[in-house]
């Protein structure tokens, strides 16, 4: 499978009254044809900024200080605004967290779903309508033909998110960026939307970038996972590698702070402190002030990227041979042991 998107050394900053915020500090990853890549991290880690940069939807005070985003070989960052308009919604489209604010309350559903198809393909009303109906049926809106005449407020939250998905898929895009698409929904509705996205991906083989902070959702949808912290990808790998053999102490912290349904101990592990202020990011490894495993060098120098396998890369000094052996927390060892046994059993 080839790469449909290649992000290389992306650097983005924002000019604010308080100073320059370095939101993205050298992010690079590939997106393969037909896969789902999840980007996880806490608020402010830069996951949404990365996705908006791909769509070139950054605010006016944003500066792209460096890097490239190659989409099918072309650098999106070199395209004019006019050229980008031909990409957005047609080749790369996006769905957002809140389905109510991404739909126009004054426009009926049919017209909204058709809109981008008519713009991009300059098609007539009849053809666009037929295509919209097809999509609304695909995403499971019952009685779609009649309901196309209705307005967003006449639909439930889950149905609205289905409509937003239909909207994003109508031009058959190569990439779908989903920014916390289920965070505002109930678990039962969330499960339906996740199933829907996986189903549709099988049918139309879109590549998906799935942004979320919910590791349960990641385990459900992702083929690969990138963990972001303070504007960098600190660990990236196959979903199994991230969940069963994580190597970065931040990933350890994230996994340990989730309660598991099976066991409930006395206390939850919690990552101490709070996310860094990106006006003045910590020197060296940005995670070091919150890292119980921090080494002396963490405060001075940024760690290089260590390759665990062809698919698994980690940026942490703990992987340096000079760091000595580090014992991960119990929950992580339990995961590693289970996985090793599982693998041995085939």
């Amino acid at each position: 499978m080839g790469n449909i998107l290649e992000v290389r050394d992306l650097q983005i900053s924002f000019d604010t009254y308080a100073g320059r915020v370095r939101a993205i500090r050298g992010v690079g990853f590939d997106l393969r044809q037909g896969e789902t890549l999840a980007i996880v991290g806490e608020s402010g880690s830069g996951k949404s900024v990365t996705s908006r940069a791909i769509m070139r939807l950054l605010a006016n005070n944003a500066n792209i200080d460096g890097g490239h985003i190659y989409f099918k070989g072309d650098d999106l960052l070199a395209k004019s605004e006019r050229q980008m308009q031909g990409v957005r919604g047609k080749e790369i489209s996006m769905i957002f967290q809140d389905p109510m604010t991404s739909l126009d309350p004054t426009m009926n559903i049919g017209n909204q779903v058709e809109e981008s198809y008519r713009k991009h393909f300059r098609s007539g009303k009849g053809e666009a309508s037929a295509r919209a109906l097809e999509l609304l049926e695909l995403v499971g809106i019952p009685d779609a033909k009649r309901r196309m005449k209705q307005y967003p407020h006449q639909f439930s939250g889950g149905q609205r998110q289905r409509i937003v998905i239909a909207n994003a898929l109508i031009c058959d895009p190569d990439i779908l960026i989903a920014d916390e698409p289920t965070t505002a929904l109930d678990v039962t509705i969330q499960a339906q939307i996740l199933d829907l996205m996986k189903d549709i991906q099988k049918k139309v083989s879109t590549s998906i970038i799935f942004i979320t902070h919910d590791l349960g959702v990641v385990a459900n949808v992702a083929d690969r996972v990138a963990v972001m912290y303070a504007g960098k990808i600190v660990e990236i790998g196959l979903t199994d590698e991230i969940f069963y053999d994580p190597r970065h102490p931040y990933t350890w912290g994230l996994l340990c702070s989730m309660p598991t349904l099976a066991a409930s101990g006395d206390r939850l592990y919690s990552i101490p402190g709070s996310p860094p202020n990106m006006l003045t990011p910590p020197t060296g490894d940005a995670f070091h002030p919150r890292n119980p495993y921090a080494l002396a060098i963490d405060a001075q120098e940024e760690p290089p990227v260590f390759r665990i396998s062809d698919t698994h890369q980690v940026s942490s000094w703990l992987l340096d041979p000079r760091a000595g052996k580090v014992e991960p927390p119990g929950e992580i060892r339990r995961r590693q042991e289970w996985f090793a046994a599982h693998r041995a059993a085939g």
Partner: protein, 312 residues
Amino acid sequence: MAERKKLLEVEHLKQYFGTGKKHEVRAVDDVSFHIYEGETFGLVGESGCGKSTTGRSISRLYRPTGGSVRFDGEDIAHINDRRAMMKFRREVQMIFQDPYASLNPRMKVKDIIAEGIDVHGLAKNDKERDEAVYGLLELVGLHSSHATRYPHEFSGGQRQRIGIARALAVKPRFIVCDEPISALDVSIQAQVVNLLQDLQKSQSLTYLFIAHDLSMVKFISDRIGVMYFGKLVEMGSSDEIYRLGVHPYTESLLSAIPLPDPEYERSRKRIAYVPAPDDGKERSLREIAPGHMVYCAPDEAEGYARRREGKM
């Protein structure tokens, strides 16, 4: 087991909105449960099921349409005089979901926290008031130097700590936590949950914990009630509900939770909930095992009990 004291007893609570109008909404419809002193009772369900309304009726932000709510033996659904209300307000406090919306941006942290102290006249002079505020800030893991700052200077997790300090200022016995961690980052959620648990021990508090994040509810609660469309459909100890929950809605809810375990996720089967058509039977909460109640008709209880046994 010694007889434990019921701190809160809710019986046949009804909370309707727009009664008598065309669109009467029965947000909470005949809900009964009790909370023992010192425990955490979790209330789960999807949005619109009435869990937040229940919390608000209990803390008398709404006047219940029907039924009774007894706190420490006294019916608070019908408190009318001001003195009794003041007393009740001191004992029951609330922590809200959105740490951004629940703190007045124009007030200093110390005035936010001390508002209850002022209203109830708990401090004799400014010095005592300040000391109380400093003590509370440290209790929730903040620093006394934060007292003169404004809410916008704090992160979401820190704001939620301020909200908790404010609730604790009047030394309550019971706190309604309405989705206190839903708006926080994963790494911060764990910090706040641990803080709530520590405070429960050190301040001997009783919690009603309302949330839709079921794994967190399981972790923090001793007992859990599952709500659906204004009704309590199942109730029991949290282990019991998670392992042996039998109401079809509970099963559907449990089957929908994604866990951070890809292998489990690959094999997880979702159970859809299809509400049974109304057959006119009289239903209420019935005990199918000690402490385990299910909303059902008398002739259905037997079936649920067998179903529970089948899961053991």
